[in-house]
C-alpha cells in the first residue's frame, strides 16, 4: 500500500517558500556546529599524513610522560573542626525565607558550611513543608557575584565606620533644617525588625512606610469598609469546596502563593472514595495564569470588565439589582451562584484586582456566604502585603515638596517598582538617600549611601506571617562579604549596640515568650523554636494577649508623637463605602478597545531575583518561553498582523505598545486563553542596574505602565495602543513547540461525573497492541504482554514514582528543585532555542483543541485535515493540562539496548542508570527515547567561555552552590533524571546504619519533596503499603505512551476536572477498533494471495 498523501513539515513548505524548499534538501534542518570544531582557519592549514603521524606520536608520548607524574592533590582540614560539622555529611538548619513577597518556613541543607539546597519546613503550620520555584532558586542568589562587597558611599566602596559617621552627620543636618526622616520598606514580616526600625525612628523622629512591588492594598482597605479592620485575611483554600477567583493568581503570585498552593492541592488530591470532595474552581481573568489554567471553569474578560462580573455575581447571589455595565456571561454567573449557594461556608471568593470597590463587594459576598471564620479568617489575620498605597503616595508628595531630609530604603526597590509614580525624580529632592539592599539595583544606583544587608541565609531573622504564628531564621554561613545585618544597622544608628541575634532573642523574650504556655523557661522555648524554625502559639491565648496589648498601646500612643512602627491598625478612616456606592464606582469604569494587563511571572515574581540565571531560564509554566520579555496576545487578535509562531516556527514579530505616552517595543507571543482585546506584559524585566544575567534578559520595565485609580490604589491594567509589526523579527527560546495532544492519550483527562459514574474502560482504557500468531490470526493484547525481552526476576527495592495530574498545578517548584539538587547546567537563550535545554524534569503544558476525532467523524473530515486542525489549540479559552515528564525509568528501556558502550543500563532496583564516565556521546539513546528526556552536553557549560556570563558555576562563588554528591557533567556526555539516586543511596544507608527496615517516605526525590501539591510521590512499589504502590494500583493509573510497551516506572494518575458532564470514549473507540480489524483482515487476504 503505497502512501500517496503528501505531508508537509510546515506552513512554509505548503506555500512553497523557496528558502524552506532549499533547506529541505539538506539532511539537517540546521547546520551542525562543525565550525566550532573545525573552523575555516583550521581547514586552511594543510596537514599531511606524515604530520598526523607526528602529532599522534607526540600525543602518545606526552600522555605517557604525563601519566608517570602523580598529580598532587592537597587536602586542607579544619584547624579547629566545629563539633557539629562532619565533612561529607549534610547539616540541616531551620530558617525563614521572606523577601517581602513570598513567606516560607524552610530547612537549609548545608555541606561543609555552605548552603546548597532549600526544602520546606514540615513543622510549619502555614507553609506545611512546601516551597515554590522562587524559594528554591533563592539559594543561588546568595552566591551572586554582583552583590555588594562592603558599604558604599557616593558609588564607591567605603569603610563601614566612615559610612556610619557620615550618615549620622547627614541625617542630623537634614533634621536640623526642619526636614523629616522616612524609612521606606517592603513588607517587613519580622516583628523584631519593625521594633528595630521603631527604635531608630524614636531617635530621629519620622515615620515607617511600607510599599509592595505589586500592591494588594485594596484587600486591606476593603476590610476597613466591611470589617473595620485594615487587615489581610488568612485564606484557607483547603477548606473551600467552591473557589471563585477574579483575576487572583493565588497559586503562583497572589498574596501568599506557597500557603495557597498547598491548600489548593489538598482540595485536588482525591481517590475514588473521596471523589466528591474535589474542589470546584472557577477563574475569571484576563491573561492566562497558572491558576486560571488549573480552573475547572474559566472565563476570559478584559480587566475593566472583571468588576462587572463581580457585581453580576453579587446580584445573582443576593437577588439584588445593582447596575452592571457591559455584558457578562449571565449563564456562567448563574451557575456559579447556584454552586456557591449550595456550599455556604465551604466556598471562597478571592479577587486579585487592586481596587477597593471591587474588593468590598467580594468581601460582602464572602460575608453573605458565611465564609468568614471558615475559609477565610479576618480574626487570625495575615501580615502579608503590608504595603500602603496611600502612605506611599503621600510620601512621594512630601519628597517632591522637599520635606524629606533622609530616606532609608530597606527591602524595596522603589525606583524600579514605582517607576510610574515619579518616585525617581522625587528621590532626587531628598538630601540623604540610603539603600540597604544586598545587591545593586535601580535604587542603590541613585543612593548616596548603600549599607548592604546580609543575604537572608547569612543573617538572623524572625517573621510573624500570621497572628500567633512566628518563625525564626538563622544564619547558615558566615557572611561572604563585608555586609551588615540591616537590623544591626538600624539599631546602631539608634545607639543600640546589640547584635541581631541578641536583639531578636530580647524581643522574643519580651513579646513572644509570654504569649505561649508550652515552655516554662525562655531558654528552652528559644531553643525549641530555633530548632523547629517555628513557634505556633495557641490562637485563643494570643488573641487575649493582643487585646490587652492594644489597650496598652493606646495608652502609649497618646504619649508618643509621630512614631509609627507598623502600618496596621491606624490608617486614615475614610468614609465607608457601601455596596451600591462600590457598584456605582465599578460601573463608572470605562473599557478600552485594547487593554493592558500587568502580571507577575512564576519565575521572576515581582522582579527581585532577575539576576538569577535559574529563574530566567526557568520556562514560564504557561508560555514555556525562557529568558525573554514579551507581549502576550490572543492568536485571534494577532491573525494577519503578527507572526503566529505556528508549527515549531519560533520567529516572532515586534510591536510597540503605548500607554499614557510611554511606549515599549517588545515581541508578540501568541497566548491562547488571553482575553480578546487585551495584551499582557510581565514585570521584572528591563533591568538597568542588576547584573550581567539580568542585562542578558533585556526587556522593558512594565512598572512604568502601572497607574493609580480613584481610590488611590495601584492599578495594574491600562488602556493601550498596539502598533502593527515593526518589521523587526525576534527569535523566542521556547521549550515546548507542540501545544496540543493531537487526540492521543498523553494526558488522560476525564470529568468528575464520568469518574464517579462510569466504568474505568470508558475513561481510562489501556491501549492494546495487535499480536499476530503463526496461523495468520491476530489478537489484541496489553502492551506489557508483547515483549521482545524476557522479564528479569528482580528482588529488593523497586523504585517508582506516581504523579497525580489532578493535583499538579504546573507551578514548576520541582523544576528548580531538581536543578539545584542535580547541578543541572544553565545553557542560555541561544542553546534553549536549539532545544538544548538541560532540565531533567520538564512540565509539558497542553491546550485543548477544537477538533477531535468525534467531531471530524461527524463532519466527515479526512485525517489530514483533522490532524492539521488538531494542531491548533482552542484560541479563545482552551482547557489546559500540565504533565511533569522526567526519565520514566522504563523496565524495558529502549535507550539501554542501543547504547554501544553500555553506559546506560538497568539496576536491580529498576532504575535506569546513566554512567557519565562511560558515555562516549553517540546520542543513540536520546534518539531512541520516546519521551525525549535525555539531555546532551553539547559544550562544557561549566568551563566554556561562551557561557561565562550565563552559567553560575563558572565563577568561584557560583560554584559553591553545587551539590558535591552529584557529578558535574562535562562536554560530550548524555545526562538525564537519575530519580535522585544520590538521595536513594543516602536513604538506604541511613536505614542500614540504624539497622532498620526502610520505611515509606524516608526517601524523597527533589521534585517530590518540593511539590506544593503532593502531586509527585516517590517510593518502593514492592512495599505494598507504600503511598506509591497504592497510587499505582489506583484505577486512574496509566502510563505515558503505554502502547510502546516499555513498561515505565512512572505512573500517571488521570486528571479529573470538576464537571457534571459525562464523557465516554467507548462508542468512538469501538468504532475505530472495528475499522482497524477490518483493515487488518484485508491485509492478510492480500498476503495470502501473494503466498499462493
Amino acid at each position: 500500500m503505497g502512501n500517496k498523501n503528501k505531508y508537509w513539515k510546515g506552513i512554509g513548505e505548503l506555500t512553497e517558500n523557496p528558502e524552506l524548499l532549499k533547506a529541505k534538501e539538506s539532511e539537517f534542518a540546521e547546520q551542525l556546529p562543525t565550525d566550532i570544531f573545525a573552523s575555516d582557519a583550521a581547514a586552511e592549514v594543510s596537514s599531511s599524513r606524515r604530520d598526523f603521524l607526528k602529532f599522534l606520536g607526540f600525543s602518545v608520548g606526552a600522555a605517557a610522560l604525563a601519566s608517570c607524574e602523580t598529580p598532587v592533590t592537597k587536602t586542607i582540614p579544619y584547624v579547629f573542626k566545629p563539633e557539629e560539622v562532619t565533612p561529607g555529611v549534610a547539616n540541616w538548619y531551620a530558617s525563614t525565607f521572606n523577601d517581602g513577597n513570598d513567606y516560607c518556613s524552610i530547612l537549609v541543607k548545608t555541606r561543609e558550611g555552605r548552603p546548597i539546597k532549600i526544602e520546606g519546613n514540615p513543622n510549619s503550620k502555614i507553609t506545611k513543608g512546601v516551597t515554590n520555584a522562587r524559594v528554591q532558586g533563592s539559594v543561588l542568589s546568595l552566591y551572586d557575584g554582583a552583590r555588594f562587597k562592603t558599604a558604599m558611599a557616593k558609588g564607591a566602596a567605603a569603610d563601614w565606620k566612615d559610612v556610619d559617621a557620615e550618615l549620622s552627620k547627614a541625617i542630623a543636618a537634614a533634621t536640623a533644617s526642619g526636614k523629616s526622616v522616612r524609612v521606606l520598606t517592603g513588607t517587613v514580616l519580622s516583628p523584631s525588625m519593625r521594633s528595630a526600625i521603631g527604635e531608630f525612628l524614636s531617635k530621629t523622629g519620622g515615620k515607617h512606610i511600607s510599599v509592595d512591588a505589586v500592591s494588594q492594598y485594596a484587600i486591606r482597605k476593603s476590610h476597613l469598609n466591611t470589617h473595620d479592620k485594615l487587615e489581610m485575611p488568612t485564606y484557607h483554600f483547603d477548606k473551600a469546596k467552591i473557589i471563585v477567583s477574579f483575576g487572583a493568581d493565588f497559586i503562583t503570585n497572589w498574596v501568599a502563593p506557597i500557603e495557597h498552593s498547598k491548600g489548593y492541592g489538598i482540595g485536588k488530591k482525591i481517590n475514588k472514595e473521596t471523589a466528591n470532595n474535589l474542589s470546584n474552581h472557577i477563574q475569571i481573568e484576563s491573561t492566562l495564569s497558572v491558576t486560571g489554567s488549573n480552573a475547572d471553569m474559566r472565563m476570559a474578560c478584559k480587566p475593566s470588565e472583571i468588576g462587572n462580573y463581580v457585581v453580576a455575581l453579587y446580584n445573582a447571589l443576593s437577588g439584588g439589582s445593582l447596575p452592571v455595565n457591559g455584558k457578562v456571561d449571565e449563564k456562567g454567573i448563574a451557575k456559579i451562584a447556584e454552586w456557591l449557594k449550595a456550599n455556604k461556608g465551604k466556598s471562597l471568593i478571592v479577587c486579585g484586582v487592586n481596587d477597593v470597590a471591587t474588593q468590598s463587594i467580594v468581601n460582602e459576598m464572602n460575608k453573605w456566604l458565611g465564609n468568614y471564620g471558615s475559609t477565610l479568617d479576618i480574626e487570625t489575620s495575615s501580615n502579608y502585603r503590608m504595603g500602603n498605597d496611600d502612605d506611599f503616595t503621600s510620601l512621594v508628595k512630601e519628597m517632591n515638596d522637599g520635606k524629606v531630609g533622609a530616606l532609608i530604603m530597606y527591602g524595596c526597590n522603589p525606583v524600579y517598582t514605582a517607576a510610574s509614580s515619579g518616585f525617581a525624580s522625587a528621590l532626587s529632592k531628598v538630601d540623604v538617600k540610603v539603600s540597604m539592599n544586598t545587591a545593586p539595583n535601580e535604587t542603590t544606583a541613585v543612593c548616596d549611601f548603600v549599607c548592604p544587608d546580609h543575604h537572608y541565609l547569612e543573617s538572623w531573622a524572625d517573621a510573624n506571617p500570621r497572628k500567633g504564628h512566628y518563625s525564626l531564621g538563622q544564619p547558615t554561613i558566615q557572611p561572604l562579604f563585608k555586609t551588615r545585618s540591616a537590623m544591626e544597622s538600624f539599631l546602631l544608628w539608634a545607639g543600640n549596640n546589640s547584635s541581631a541575634s541578641d536583639y531578636i532573642k530580647w524581643y522574643w523574650a519580651k513579646s513572644v515568650f509570654p504569649m505561649q504556655g508550652k515552655y516554662m523557661d525562655f531558654t528552652s522555648f528559644w531553643n525549641y523554636s530555633l530548632h523547629d524554625g517555628v513557634a505556633e502559639i495557641g490562637t485563643d491565648v494570643m488573641l487575649k494577649m493582643e487585646e490587652g496589648k492594644k489597650e496598652d498601646k493606646k495608652k502609649e500612643e497618646t504619649k508618643k508623637e509621630e512614631v509609627k512602627t507598623a502600618v496596621t491598625e491606624e490608617a486614615p478612616k475614610t468614609n465607608k463605602m457601601d455596596v451600591s456606592a462600590a457598584a456605582a464606582m465599578i460601573a463608572a469604569e470605562k473599557s478600552a478597545p485594547i487593554e493592558l494587563i500587568i502580571y507577575e511571572k512564576t519565575g521572576l515574581g515581582f522582579g527581585d531575583n532577575a539576576n538569577n540565571p535559574w529563574m530566567l531560564e526557568f520556562p514560564d509554566p504557561i508560555s514555556k518561553v525562557t529568558w525573554d520579555h514579551y507581549i502576550t496576545m490572543n492568536p485571534l487578535d494577532m491573525k494577519g498582523k503578527y507572526a503566529m509562531l505556528e508549527r515549531q516556527d519560533m520567529i516572532g514579530d515586534m510591536a510597540t505598545i503605548t500607554v499614557n505616552g510611554k511606549s515599549a517595543t517588545l515581541p508578540v507571543f501568541p497566548q491562547p486563553g488571553q482575553a480578546r482585546g487585551t495584551i499582557g506584559i510581565s514585570v521584572g524585566y528591563g533591568r538597568t542596574a542588576l547584573g550581567k544575567v539580568a542585562a542578558l534578559a533585556g526587556g522593558f520595565n512594565a512598572y512604568e505602565f502601572v497607574g493609580t485609580n480613584n481610590e488611590g490604589t495601584m492599578h495594574y491594567s491600562a488602556p493601550v495602543t498596539v502598533s502593527d509589526a515593526t518589521g523587526e523579527k525576534f527569535a523566542f527560546a521556547c521549550t515546548q513547540q507542540h501545544h496540543t495532544m493531537m487526540g492521543r492519550k498523553i494526558v488522560n483527562e476525564t470529568t468528575l461525573a464520568t469518574f464517579t459514574s462510569v466504568e474505568k474502560q470508558h475513561w481510562n482504557e489501556t491501549e492494546m497492541v495487535t499480536m499476530f500468531d503463526s496461523t495468520g490470526g491476530h489478537t489484541k493484547v496489553e502492551p506489557t504482554k508483547a515483549n521482545l525481552w524476557d522479564d528479569h526476576k528482580r528482588l529488593g527495592h523497586h523504585w517508582a514514582m506516581a504523579i497525580d495530574l489532578t493535583a499538579c498545578n504546573g507551578c514548576g517548584a520541582c523544576v528548580i528543585s531538581c536543578q539545584a539538587e542535580n547541578n543541572v547546567a544553565v545553557v542560555g537563550k541561544e542553546q534553549v532555542a536549539k532545544t538544548r535545554d538541560m532540565a531533567w524534569i520538564r512540565i509539558d503544558r497542553y491546550y485543548s483543541s477544537d477538533m477531535s476525532k468525534d467531531k471530524a467523524h461527524e463532519e466527515g473530515k479526512g485525517s489530514i485535515d483533522m490532524y492539521l486542525e488538531m494542531e491548533n489549540p482552542t484560541f479563545e479559552n482552551p482547557k489546559v493540562v500540565f504533565q511533569p515528564v522526567m526519565c520514566q525509568h522504563c523496565n524495558h528501556a529502549p535507550c539501554e539496548t542501543v547504547c554501544p558502550v553500555l553506559a546506560t543500563n538497568h539496576s536491580s532496583e529498576r532504575l535506569n542508570m546513566m554512567t557519565y564516565n562511560r558515555c562516549v556521546g553517540t546520542r543513540y539513546c536520546a534518539n531512541n527515547c520516546p519521551y525525549k528526556v535525555r539531555r546532551f552536553n553539547w559544550f562544557n557549560y561549566n568551563g566554556n567561555y561562551r557561557f561565562k556570563d550565563i552559567n553560575p558555576t563558572q565563577d568561584e562563588l557560583g560554584r559553591m552552590v553545587l551539590n558535591p554528591d552529584v557529578v558535574v557533567r562535562s562536554r560530550g556526555v548524555m545526562e538525564k533524571c537519575s530519580m535522585c539516586v544520590q538521595r536513594v543511596q543516602e536513604g538506604k544507608m541511613k536505614s542500614k546504619v540504624a539497622g532498620e527496615k526502610l520505611h515509606d517516605g524516608a526517601i524523597q526525590t527533589a521534585c517530590s519533596q518540593s511539590c506544593p501539591a503532593d502531586a509527585i510521590v516517590f517510593g518502593d512499589i514492592n512495599d505494598t503499603n507504600s503511598a506509591v504502590a497504592k497510587m499505582a494500583a489506583d484505577e486512574r493509573m496509566y502510563h505515558l505512551l503505554e502502547e510502546v510497551g516499555i513498561q515505565p516506572n512512572v505512573f500517571y494518575l488521570t486528571k479529573i476536572r470538576n464537571s457534571d458532564e459525562v464523557v465516554s470514549h467507548e462508542k468512538h473507540q469501538n468504532k475505530e477498533e472495528h475499522k482497524g480489524s477490518e483493515e487488518h483482515k484485508e491485509e492478510h487476504k492480500e498476503e495470502k494471495k501473494e503466498h499462493a
Binding site: 605517557a64 608517570c68 584547624v79 543500563n905 546504619v993 532498620e996 527496615k997
Partner: protein, 418 residues
C-alpha cells in the same frame, strides 16, 4: 617522590597475597563483643599507657592497687567532672593536673566502661614492640631496597653475550681472511648493514617480531598504568608517622579519622584532634620537638603558656588516596555496614612511617572484591532481612551459594557513579 615503574606481575601477586591474607585475617577476627582491650585501645590508649609512664594522663600500672573500688573507678571514668563535685577523692585527683579527662558518658555505654575497667584490673602489660622495632618486611613490600632487578641482569647477560659474539666473529673473520690471503683467495667482502639484512632475512624478521611484540606488551602495560598510583607515598608537611601512632601507641584509626563511621569520607583529622594529646606531649621519639612544633604553629598554640594565642594556619596535607570526581565512595557503607577493616584497602598502616597507597584503587580492583566478598554485617541487619532471604533462595541450589556484594547489586553503575 614517585617510584620507578615496577613489573606488573610482581605487583599483582603482591596485591593478591595482601588481599588474601587480609581476607583470612578478617574472617578469623572475632566479631563485635565487649572486648575491654579493644575499647581500651580505641578510647584510652591515646592518653594512658599500660606501664607506669605517664602520657597526657597517668600510666595504668598498678591501677587495681591504687583504686581498688571498681565502682569508684566506674563513676570517675563515666563523668569525672560531675563526679569530682560530689566525691572528695575525685576532686583531689582532678586538681593534680590542668588537663581534664574526657567525659565518657554518651561516648561509651555503661557496659563498655565496665568491660574496660575489668580489663585494666587484670594488670595487663604493654605488648612487646619487637615487630615494630625490626621494621619488618610486611606482605606489602614487593621489592626490597638493594635488590637487583632481574631485568637488568638479563640486559647485562645479553650485552656480555653480544660482546662475546662480536669478538668471536671478528676473530673468526680475521682468521678466515688470513687463511684466504695465504691461499690466494679473495678477502671476505665488507658487508654494510643493509646488505647484511638482505642476506639474513629470517633473523631480521625474528628480531622485528620479538621487539615489536615486546614493545606492544610494554606499551599495553604502560597504558594500563595511567592514573594508577599504587605506591604513591608523598611527603607530608608534618613528618607524621602512622607507625608510631597507630602501631607503637596503638591508637585506633577511628580516633583520628572519625568520619569513617559517620560519613562518606574518613577525613584528614583537624589539628585540634592532634592537640587532644599533643597539648601534653611536646616531644616525639624520632623528630624531637620539630614536627610537633608544626602542629602548635598550625593551631596557634603557645607551648610555654599552654594557651592558644596566635593566628591559626591551616595545614595543607597531600592527599594519598585520590579517587576521581566521578566516583562516589562511602566509608560508612564499608566500615559500619559492611564491617570491613581499614587495612583491607589501606594496607597495614601500623607498619608505615609515611602513608602509602597500597591498593591500585581501580574499578577492576573494586569489582573484584565485590564479586568475592560476602558482607559480614548483612545477616544481622534487619534492613537486609527480606533481600537476604530472597537471595538465599535464589542461589541456594547453586554451587557457589554465597551472597556476595555483587549479587546484591553491588557492581551496578549507579552504586558508585552519579
Amino acid at each position: 617522590m614517585v617510584k620507578p615503574c615496577k613489573s606488573q606481575w610482581h605487583r599483582n601477586t603482591a596485591i593478591f597475597t595482601t588481599l588474601a591474607l587480609i581476607f583470612f585475617l578478617n574472617i578469623s577476627s572475632a566479631l563485635a563483643q565487649l572486648d575491654g582491650k579493644k575499647i581500651y585501645k580505641a578510647n584510652c590508649r591515646s592518653c594512658h599507657y599500660l606501664d607506669d609512664k605517664s602520657s597526657t594522663g597517668p600510666g595504668f600500672q598498678g591501677l587495681s592497687g591504687k583504686h581498688p573500688d571498681k565502682e569508684w573507678t566506674f563513676k570517675w571514668v563515666k563523668n569525672n567532672v560531675s563526679f569530682a563535685k560530689t566525691d572528695s577523692k575525685a576532686a583531689e585527683i582532678s586538681k593534680l593536673t590542668t588537663n581534664t579527662m574526657t567525659v565518657f558518658e554518651g561516648v561509651l555505654t555503661d557496659d563498655e566502661i565496665k568491660a574496660v575497667i575489668d580489663y585494666l584490673y587484670t594488670n595487663p602489660t604493654e605488648e612487646k614492640k619487637v615487630d615494630v622495632a625490626k621494621g619488618g618486611s610486611g606482605a606489602t613490600t614487593s621489592e626490597q631496597e638493594g635488590g637487583i632487578n632481574p631485568l637488568y641482569l638479563v640486559l647485562v647477560v645479553i650485552t656480555v653475550m653480544l660482546i662475546i659474539i662480536s669478538a668471536l666473529r671478528s676473530v673468526k673473520r680475521n682468521l678466515q681472511n688470513t687463511y684466504n690471503e695465504k691461499h690466494g683467495l679473495p678477502p671476505l667482502e665488507e658487508l654494510n648493514w643493509r646488505q647484511w639484512c638482505s642476506r639474513n632475512k629470517r633473523t631480521v624478521a625474528l628480531i622485528v617480531i620479538v621487539t615489536t611484540s615486546y614493545g606492544l606488551q610494554a606499551g599495553w602495560y604502560a597504558l594500563k598504568d595511567i592514573g594508577v598510583y599504587t605506591g604513591y607515598k608523598p611527603e607530608q608537611p608534618i613528618k607524621f608517622s602512622h607507625k608510631i601512632h597507630a602501631g607503637e601507641n596503638g591508637i585506633s584509626c577511628e580516633y583520628c579519622h572519625s568520619g569513617v563511621l559517620k560519613s562518606k569520607v574518613a577525613g584528614v583529622p583537624s589539628a585540634n584532634v592532634c592537640m587532644n594529646c599533643h597539648k601534653g606531649i611536646e616531644q616525639g621519639p624520632t623528630t624531637g620537638t620539630d614536627e610537633i612544633a608544626k602542629i602548635y604553629a598550625a593551631t596557634g598554640f603557645d607551648a610555654a603558656t599552654k594557651t592558644y594565642t596566635k593566628t591559626p594556619q591551616p595545614l595543607k596535607w597531600n592527599k594519598v588516596h585520590v579517587l576521581p570526581d566521578f566516583v562516589y565512595f562511602n566509608h560508612q557503607q564499608h566500615v559500619v555496614v559492611g564491617k570491613q577493616e581499614c587495612k583491607t584497602c589501606h594496607g597495614d598502616l601500623t607498619q608505615m612511617d609515611v602513608a602509602e597507597q597500597v591498593s591500585p584503587l581501580t574499578m577492576g580492583w573494586c569489582i573484584d572484591c565485590h564479586r568475592k566478598t560476602e558482607v559480614p554485617g548483612m545477616k544481622d541487619n534487619p534492613y537486609y532481612e527480606d533481600l537476604h532471604k530472597k537471595l538465599a533462595e535464589k542461589y541456594s541450589g547453586q554451587k557457589d551459594s554465597i551472597i556476595t556484594v555483587a549479587r546484591m547489586g553491588g557492581i551496578e553503575c549507579a552504586k558508585c557513579h552519579y
